[in-house]
């Protein structure tokens, strides 16, 4: 790429460039512009090629498979048209697992946003050592899912877990946290444990809130809660919207139920309690336990379309509510 490596041509290339520059400087000539266009595509190509081959192609492949009975073993697989889709629409397992995923999203997303925002307000107060508190509250968000899964399995273990230890200490009965129907609350708590993520992002937003706004509100005699509701939340609303969308997408595709199960691998899917048997787990079981690649691909495409619809709905419903202090288009 360097000039030294192409020494014989270098002189001519340089002359061309200089000429191009002179021309473009004189009358906005095409050489310089074309060169920049070509350079842009040269720079963007790793992403364009990678995105096409490793994202678009697999999605198209899955779409094609979803119209077949392909299972990876049997050579007699064939095209069945919309057969797989008809089957999944009539299978209660589809809707039950989708309902569980939806319930999990509805519980975990608002709670983690409220928790993250609350923590952000807490560590934004001018107290000594707040840097340390920020770090401590953020650390769990850095713990990898496997670490979080094992930690929560031990914390909520029927016999050896601290949660039941506290319950029995106060005279309550121990609870089978990792079994039905409580397993879903443990799943939600693993998400809440990572709320430091949202805290950090909200904190950056909080620090962008102009001081004058708070001072003006105080002079007007507004209470702390009123200031929070009428100034902080609206100014943070783009951040909160972003967190809602990514939170919903993350929660429908979580594999945490697998990590909380007694046998944590694609071979142990049947050990996942019913209440944590989410849509994604259903897809994994069709994929790996039953090897129905065609049918599972149809399930994936249904989820993909549903996520697109959900994202669109969230944006549409919040379009009047979310407040952009700076026109996001103007930033480009």
């Amino acid at each position: 790429m360097t000039v030294e490596q192409v020494a014989p041509e270098a002189g001519r290339a340089r002359a061309d460039r200089t000429a191009g520059r002179v021309r473009s400087a004189e009358r906005g000539g095409p050489t310089m512009t074309t060169r920049r266009h070509r350079a842009f595509y040269m720079f963007a190509s790793p992403w364009i090629i990678g995105f096409s081959l490793l994202t678009i192609a697999p999605m198209v492949y899955a779409l094609w498979l979803s119209f077949t009975t392909y299972d990876g073993i049997s050579p007699n697989w064939h095209y069945v048209g919309l057969g797989n889709y008809r089957e999944l629409l009539h299978d209660s397992a589809t809707w039950d697992s989708l309902g569980r995923a939806g319930l999990f999203a509805v519980m975990s997303v608002p709670l983690s946003i409220i928790a993250g925002l609350g923590l952000a307000v807490l560590v934004n107060r001018p107290v000594q050592g707040r840097g340390l508190f920020r770090t401590l509250l953020y650390v769990p968000a850095v713990v990898p899912p496997v670490g979080a899964g094992i930690a929560f399995k031990n914390l909520f273990d029927q016999n050896a877990g601290a949660a039941n230890g506290v319950l029995t200490f106060f005279g309550f009965d121990a609870i089978g946290w990792l079994a039905d129907p409580y397993a879903r609350y443990v799943l939600v708590m693993t998400v809440l444990w990572g709320a430091g993520n949202i805290m950090i992002i909200s904190l950056a937003g909080l620090q962008d809130v102009p001081r004058e706004l708070h001072e003006a509100a105080r002079i007007d005699g507004a209470s702390a809660w009123r200031t929070f509701r009428s100034i902080t939340v609206p100014l943070l609303s783009p951040v909160l919207l972003f967190q809602t969308v990514t939170g919903v997408i993350a929660s429908v595709q979580t594999i945490m139920p697998m990590l909380l199960a007694p046998i944590a691998s694609t071979g142990g899917l049947t050990t996942i309690p019913q209440s944590n048997y989410t849509y994604m787990i259903h897809v994994f079981s069709e994929y790996f336990a039953l090897g129905r690649y065609g049918y599972a691909s149809a399930l994936l495409w249904l989820l993909f379309v549903l996520i697109l619809i959900a994202t669109g709905l969230i944006f549409k419903l919040t379009s009047g509510v979310v407040f952009y202090n700076v026109d996001p288009e103007a930033k480009k």
Binding site: F43, W47, L54, A160, I200
Partner: protein, 287 residues
């Protein structure tokens, strides 16, 4: 505030003190709650198996079983799995950082027809559910004979990550225009401008990107679980699946000890690289 409220005995002053006390109590309580699960993991890793079976719960180990950590290390090829994790994470993080910087430069400093659309797709693709693309990708990699090799991570690394591209784009867009104009007069191509002028300026972003990508890969469970056989797999998979007694029951205390050893390197990296890590996080969140 009026002058009277500043006198030492005023009720306002008192209220400020009470507020501060409440605030500190809340902070300590919440911090304790957040550190609890990890503290419990360490405690579990220091207990004897008999203590973990007994009810009611043994809060603290009767005798601290330090040897659990050594046992967890010896029971499986811990070092081998850690090496696999290290290779995959370094390979991916190094490649994806360079490729994302390269792509980010294009989006920040160059113009072409279609760039706006492509940028829209790039940002939109951050929201694509990755688990949905992973399963068919696994089938394709299996067809190409790349299962049980590290090629998938090389390919993923070379194709850049939208999140990191965005990070680099934001950084490069903020550098002064004169930087490349001088270089163009000197006859330096855009490749040279990127390599010799922009890249050396971007150490903070490069290291943040490397740390973020390394953490992703070290923490990833599902891709190595699907793509690698047990022997070639990563520490994440080994910690999750291999601490099982011949009877089939899990060896809880050793698994807890192993997961502490698996998590601690990531926590250390985070604490060292904290600033870049956090600023990267918040940049992406504000978009």
């Amino acid at each position: 505030m009026t002058a009277s409220s500043l006198s030492p005995k005023s009720p306002v002053r008192f209220r400020v003190r009470v507020n501060r006390l409440v605030l500190y109590t809340a902070l300590v309580a919440v911090a304790g709650l957040f550190l609890g699960p990890f503290g419990w993991l360490i405690l579990t890793g220091l207990k004897a198996p008999s203590e973990l079976a007994a009810a009611p719960v043994h809060w603290l180990p009767a005798h601290i079983q330090w040897h659990n950590f050594a046992d967890a290390y010896k029971l499986i090829d811990f070092l081998g799995y850690a090496r696999n994790s290290l290779i995959i994470a370094t390979l991916y993080a190094g490649l994806v950082t360079l490729s994302s910087a390269w792509v980010g430069f294009g989006f920040a400093r160059l113009a072409a027809p279609g760039k706006k659309t492509l940028f829209g797709i790039l940002i939109g693709s951050m929201m694509l559910p990755q688990m949905i693309t992973l399963l068919p990708t696994y089938l394709i990699f299996a067809k190409l004979g790349m299962v049980d090799t590290y090629w998938p991570w090389v390919l993923w690394g070379l194709s850049s990550a939208p999140y990191l591209v965005f990070l680099f784009r934001q950084f490069f867009a903020g550098l002064p225009r004169e930087l490349e104009e001088a270089a163009i007069v000197d006859g330096c191509g855009y490749g040279g401008i990127f390599w010799r002028i922009f890249l050396p300026q971007s150490w903070p972003v490069l290291s943040a990107s490397f740390v973020i990508a390394f953490t992703w890969t070290w923490g990833d469970y599902i891709a190595p679980q699907l793509l690698l056989s047990t022997d070639r797999s990563t520490l994440a998979v080994a910690v999750m699946t291999t601490y099982v007694a011949p009877s089939g029951s899990p060896i809880t205390n050793l698994q807890a000890a192993a997961s502490v050893m698996y998590v601690v390197p990531i926590l250390l990296i985070f604490l060292v690289a904290q600033r870049g890590f956090v600023s990267g996080m918040s940049t992406s969140g504000l978009k």
